[in-house]
Amino acid sequence: MTRQAALPISVRQLTKRYGSLTVLDAIDLDVRSGEFLTLLGPSGSGKTTLLMMLAGFVRPDCGIIRFGDADVVRLEPHKRDVGMVFQNYALFPHMDVAANIAFPLKLRGVGKAETAERVEQALELVKLGGYGARRVDQLSGGQRQRIALARAIVFEPRILLMDEPLSALDKQLREHMQIELRQLHERLGMTTVYVTHDQREALTMSDRIAVIDHGRIQQLDAPHVIYDRPAGRFVAEFIGESTFVTVDVTEDDCRFGDVSLILGETPARLGQHELMIRPERLSILDGKQSPDINVLPATVRASIYQGDSILVQTLLADGTAVSVRASASVKPPAAGEPIRLGLRAADTYLLPDGAGRA
């Protein structure tokens, strides 16, 4: 299978209401051509509805969906020419593997010899060469996933949609498939919209992530921006672990209780702000000082041995509980002992006001 021109997707004002419930609230979204974009959100956020609208299975109340230049919002699903991998794979149980993959080719009137060739190519691509004669119920979950993928790309669609395709797999296989899907995307280069509620999956695979909640895009950015510079409390809490403390910003200082903090970026306004602390960015300081590391004094509540590391549960000066990992090779601090936690200035990030949009 060859690399081909991908199509950009452009969504404008896409809205869906069920009675008083707004599932999608005037969504605007641009997926660049060839991009791997993930729609990430909790269940009920509207991410699946958005994907189903791209595929044509859910009719929006209003809005525009463009594939390239064409508005497809009123186009029937079978005319959209997009590949889709379903959550439960939806492989036809009355057909063998080869017939499943050949299905879209058959509908497009591709000749017998070419069909056989392309089916085998697709099977090779998902590393299941020679599986054509198998029955669907003879396949493992991971194999079904690959066949569903092969079926979705065999007709060389320029847009590929995936609806939580890895959610039914066990953790190890899931992590393996994440990397494989990513590599496949790099080879084929089709514009891909991927839905998941698994933040790690989103961070691992995506070029950009659109975090969705309550039918709105809360933030659309590259994974590291989403993680390090969340646009609001929801994104910060949904992705990764985080603790928030209140800090006070004045003209020339940012204070957390008695401690003065050096910030990565200056906030837009003065007054009270929320400081986001990612526990894994905290370190336990020994004697040394460094000008670009903020020092947060804390008290140890307990040290818990966990094999690869020690989990040190501490209380910050304002009483906020934070857990820090320490190397298992050092002597664990005892309960009640004072301790100094270090946070690099670059990681000292104040949440912007509101649920800002990208």
Binding site: A55, G56, F57, H78, N88, P93, F103, P104, R108, F155
Partner: protein, 296 residues
């Protein structure tokens, strides 16, 4: 102290045997009933069919079936009527089951009650009701002529037409139920996937939906066909003596000629033919699914 090789083995084995026996005892009354009311009488009829009028062993009854054309006619008519009934049931029932399967579950359940209603009415009552509706001065003919739809009364009853109308009416639920349940079991994602891969609704139906509903359709058709083979009341009442199926022939043999042997042999042949059809069908459809789909 002596060491026992397998402590408690004997007692545990006995416990298991008792448990099995208790379980079997639950099914006992039903098994007994089947033996007394089914196996014994059928065995007795089987035995009778091989006895001639003098009470000696003979194949006379079976020979007569081959020689006398009226018997052959009864069999071919039985299969013809059963086949036609099944075909009409499929034509009427499959689309209806499809509509029901696409409705929301609550609405479908309400409609299903409507389908089931005939089940709760006596077969005899329904058959005579059709007689009232269909005969020359019946409701349908009177209204049809009054409205000027046709001139002379249509021959709707006392013939094959009436028999088929009555039988289809009785058999339709037996087809709809298994078809409906097999259609309900089809994941809608299959149809979405078909559409996504480029199949128009029509092609998605032929390529995906129909093949997936086929086991239910085969099961339903088989149930209808086999039940039709043994029909008696409907052809007797609505056929007006012109539709002599095997069951009617059996009744004539007993009522008119008091020939239990001849009647029994007809029963045996029908029984064996039905068994053969079931066997052939079981190679096509899994029988457990047939029974599962037919439960209601």
């Amino acid at each position: 102290m002596t060491v026992i090789a397998a402590p408690n083995a004997e007692g545990l084995r006995r416990d298991a045997a008792v448990e099995r026996l208790q379980l079997f005892a639950l099914g006992g009354p039903a098994v007994l009933l089947v033996i007394v009311t089914m196996i014994v009488p059928v065995g007795w009829l089987f035995w009778l069919s091989f006895l001639n009028d003098a009470g000696e062993f003979s194949l006379e009854h079976y020979r007569r079936m081959l020689v006398q054309p009226s018997y052959g006619r009864a069999f071919s008519l039985t299969f013809e009527v059963s086949f036609l009934t099944t075909a009409i049931c499929i034509v009427l029932g499959y689309p209806l089951a499809y509509v029901l399967s696409q409705l929301p579950r609550r609405a479908a359940n309400i409609c299903m009650i409507a389908v089931m209603l005939p089940f709760w009415t006596s077969l005899l009552v329904r058959t005579y009701a059709w007689l009232v509706l269909l005969h020359r001065q019946g409701v349908i003919n009177t209204w049809g002529i009054k409205l000027g739809l046709w001139e002379a009364p249509l021959p709707l009853v006392h013939n094959l037409n009436g028999t088929l109308i009555g039988m289809v009416h009785i058999m339709l639920p037996f087809l709809i139920l298994p078809v409906y349940s097999s259609m309900r079991a089809i994941d809608r994602d299959y149809l979405k996937a078909a559409a996504n891969l480029g199949a128009s609704p029509t092609r998605a139906f032929w390529l995906v939906f129909l093949p997936l509903s086929l086991p239910g359709l085969l099961a339903g058709s088989l149930i209808v066909f086999i039940l039709c083979l043994g029909f008696y009341v409907t052809p007797a009442v609505l056929g007006g003596g012109k539709v002599t199926m095997v069951a009617n022939r059996i009744a004539t043999d007993i009522e008119l000629f008091f020939n239990w042997g001849a009647a029994s042999s007809l029963g045996v042949v029908l029984f064996v033919l039905t068994g053969l059809i079931l066997y052939a069908a079981s190679r096509l459809v899994r029988l457990d699914r047939l029974l599962g789909g037919g439960s209601h």
